[in-house]
Subunit: 222 residues, 2 copies
DNA sequence: GGTTAAGCACACAGATCGGTGTACATAGCG
DNA sequence: CGCTATGTACACCGATCTGTGTGCTTAACC
């Protein structure tokens, strides 16, 4: 009772260390950046002693990599594994998940060494993400799915980076471009009527079909 | 002769301090990142004493801001002020200037504080860049030039960020999208024949017209 | 030649960084 | 119970960080 206050469910602040460390790290890295987050602060937020941290991770570098690995291992399953969306809708639904700066871009910029495990994983993730887009594009009957997948991935990265610089959400602009590219790549029969015209101005909703059925505006970690 | 070696033109390492500091800073920030570049290393590379640096700049923050300010104050004049290119060609020529990670994106990611002068300037620069694209689009006779300008700007940011993560150049993908968007936005008469079809695969040259007349693959600082 | 502004060398400050060593406490489990 | 995993408290390390204080040297200009 002197120290050692108990948490709600009786986990007296001990025993779940690794989870708490990773959670705190993800939060702090997102909010302050990786380099601006010190180990001491990290431990304080996680409610963990410094010694414990170094019993779970060999160093900060490993912790960073672990955070990225835990972030979105299945690559937007709520979008890509959605059964009640057509492939076209799924492609466009990826542009509805709002988020702060993509942590993989953040890591790639904040960490100078291209060989750092976090950067290698970021690379893998981005490739895998594009691959999921490609698969979905193929499923939608697109002629050149690799191209469309890579293009849509670039749009998402652009929105993330640009939003950070401008301090303004730019995802709608990316979504507008995506709509154009998708409908252009799709066999004309597969495009819902009304989708071929001028994409609506770059602001507001563009993905009429996708939006209605899947609002994935989730409170994701990033 | 003991110390004080003379440079080629007799500038004996003194007297040009401010220039050398900014030059060294731009180089190091680009190569290693901002946070990974220490003041001591900076001074060593610049051939300048630490005291001198702090007589020119109040601190590292001011130096960072100054670097960004000096970087591209006129916003790609070799592209946007090119007289022997049509507006359409100029829009596409912006996708021919290869470069490492855009320093404004880098600053926006590396510096957590959104109110930092460097981040404010980065914001201004990005807005101004989009404005130049918008102006050019308007000049080209595009119906909604603001939209196209913002879209093309997002593509460039996407290429920069994504190239950093993937460790691979992705500008060609962005250029392919740009070609689609520009030609779609342009009055059909203004689009050169052969430019309307499938944009060439996402790799290789897309801007047939622009490339021939303006290869701006310059060795820019970034 | 003499004045002045610019630059240099160098020691040093205070903070923070990532990381460790040591000894103790506790929870879970057989 | 007693053993072992896990976690804690806390001091401490060397390195590095941005930034200063002080005194000297030198280039440029009148």
């Amino acid at each position: 009772m002197t120290k050692l206050d108990k948490g709600p469910q009786g986990l007296r602040r001990g025993r779940g260390a690794r989870e708490r460390i990773v959670n705190a790290a993800q939060q702090l890295f997102r909010d302050q950046g990786i380099n601006s987050t010190g180990i001491d602060q990290l431990c304080a937020v996680a409610g963990v002693s410094k010694r414990t941290l170094y019993q779970h991770f060999t160093g900060k570098d490993e912790l960073i990599a672990e955070c990225l690995r835990r972030f979105d291992p299945n690559i937007l399953p709520e979008v890509f594994d959605s059964t009640d969306l057509t492939p076209r809708e799924r492609l466009l639904a990826a542009f509805d998940v709002h988020a702060p700066l993509c942590p993989f871009i953040a890591a790639a910029v904040e960490i100078p060494d291209p060989g750092h495990s976090a950067r290698l994983y970021a690379r893998d993730y981005k490739k895998a993400f594009a691959a999921r887009l490609t698969d979905t594009a193929r499923e939608a009957g697109v002629a050149n799915p690799e191209q469309l997948g890579e293009q849509l991935a670039l749009l998402l990265d652009g929105a993330s980076a640009r939003s950070r610089v401008l301090n303004t959400e730019t995802l709608a602009t990316a979504a507008a471009i995506a709509a154009v590219l998708v409908d252009k790549a799709l066999p004309t029969a597969a495009v819902p009527r009304g989708a071929g015209g001028n994409p609506s101005a770059g602001t507001g909703r563009v993905t009429d079909a996708a939006t209605s059925s899947a609002e994935v505006d989730a409170e994701r970690g990033w």
